[in-house]
Subunit: 376 residues, 2 copies
Amino acid sequence: MEFIINSDCFNKAISDVNKAVSLKTPFPILSGIKLTAHPDCLVLIGSNSDIIIEKVIPLTIDGGKVLEVIETGSVVLSAKYLSEIVKKLPNQIHLKVSDKQVVTLRTDEIMTSLNGFNSEEYPSLRQIDETNKIVISSNELIDMIKQTAFAVSKSETRPVLTGVNLSFNENHLTCVATNSHRLALRELAIDSDVSGSFIVPSTSLNELLKLIQNESGLIHLFVTESYMVFKSNTTSLFSRLIEGNYPNVSGLIPKDSKTIITLETKKLLMGIDRACLFASEWKNNNVNLEIVDGNKIKISSHSSEVGRIEEIQNVKAIDGEKELSISLDGNFLMDALKAVKEEEIKLSFGGSMRPVLLQPVGNSSYLHLISPVRSY
Amino acid sequence: MEFIINSDCFNKAISDVNKAVSLKTPFPILSGIKLTAHPDCLVLIGSNSDIIIEKVIPLTIDGGKVLEVIETGSVVLSAKYLSEIVKKLPNQIHLKVSDKQVVTLRTDEIMTSLNGFNSEEYPSLRQIDETNKIVISSNELIDMIKQTAFAVSKSETRPVLTGVNLSFNENHLTCVATNSHRLALRELAIDSDVSGSFIVPSTSLNELLKLIQNESGLIHLFVTESYMVFKSNTTSLFSRLIEGNYPNVSGLIPKDSKTIITLETKKLLMGIDRACLFASEWKNNNVNLEIVDGNKIKISSHSSEVGRIEEIQNVKAIDGEKELSISLDGNFLMDALKAVKEEEIKLSFGGSMRPVLLQPVGNSSYLHLISPVRSY
């Protein structure tokens, strides 16, 4: 194998696939990146037990030549050393594999040689099964992940709750994440007849977010029983799925409420942030919300040892009962508010021990649910 | 005590003195910041066993009013909570101490109360002894610290080597730092008749660097047997001194050399950085320098398991013997090169086992010395 490549372009692709590579694998070859030079492109693959990232570098990008393949072939190189060295090399890199998998990288007067692995020992990638395909714009997919993935469970006690549930049904996609104390739900109209329910690890989705963050375009989703593929023009991410049945959450969302308060999202977020000051003093990070004077909301928290903080905010509107005092986990409330892009938010309360429903005003496609905590 | 203060200004001062405060002190009051309101200013003090930082906020800054003292007095508040809460408060803060050291911070509709400590329990600050005073421009002091402090010993085996030696002698200041494998020396003409040798912990100097980074003006140094004070307009840093005798290093600096090479500082730094690629594979992080073709320098390193890297750089000039092969700790070399602001650098070699002298071209006020390592 032999090729000449633009170092910036090579560096970017290496750093993308490197996100999947773990140094702590028992198989040395899996701590490497597989490079395959085809006549018309260079393919890079990095993997761990959860995800595989594949990146394709074409011969030209935006009309500019970035790659010249002199001889096709493949090799696996240590991800750590390859990424370190390519980061520090200027201009064009001339990479060549000699006998015994020794790889030389040459640029001007700098000559590096790295010992590679035989690429035949690297596990081969599954062929993508193109039967069940869904197309989503990358912007919508990014929003969807940001609005749900944070709410998954961090504990492995119930593995299904560590993933986001994607359920497809008649041109409709519903994404749900919950840790059983809070829940995030996002709905999306899609153009596909795929149906089925899949649980994707939140870690995979967070990696996907980093990869497609700056891409605008379409993402193709391919689903099978055991894995899901997210594919853009130049990048593919294969994720394992979590086995098991996801709980049915449709019954949890309250239909009626005693009090509905409409507030400015950012102002509320800043108030809750301040009230979380004594967070480390409290196991549940309790923040208390209370209606005062019939038309204002008091946000407060206290720690008997350190002190207390309270503030009174004007609200846009209060509908229903004007009496309310409820304690919530301030961090859960902040996470949910950060996921809201809309200027105003509606909080619906069914009573001091019933879950609070958060809905952005003017957008019915997503909602958050937070269970109250006991206050002492 | 009661005052009204601009929150940005208060926040900046708190974050400066907070640099000295440690959460891990056995005395709860020392994890606090002492606030003292005088008729014409507010003084903040934070301390640990090595340093004390004192910050003065005047009534006006650049003609704008930032502070109004309503009642003088003092209190000590938890540094952690005070800094957290002030960071999140907008506009003006109205601070008031009530009975029992409960402090309220009020701004618009936000009311916080923090439990304070009685300020009488806070250790009182030494009066500055103004006998031995030196004045240095903050720019020169910043340069001096950057050019020497990195070279101190990280090990406590010989405590004196963990500090920078400042020795004053007839209008002349010499700063030296060494870990016995490398040495950094900086000289400075000063206008003072103070004489004596003092060892300042490098940690104190690094804190000082952060404090005066953006200050232009004069720094007043006051020295005594046991502590040193660095004082700018609004900030004072008191540092303990390290007891003991600093080794005399004047005999270590080689007077003659077999080979002198002149190089571009940045280009050499980038080459050494690349050659450090296999750093983690080597105990001493060996980088080899070799003269090739009588007019070029080859920088190389290798790891038998991973691979090797080498590059050949053109040099500006080689004087003396044209034969040289020497191994140095690449990280020591990088640290020294990073401290050089001049475009070109002169490396003087006395033989493969003699220390290498680094001197910036066109500036004789500082130098670096690095002992070679054995190469295998």
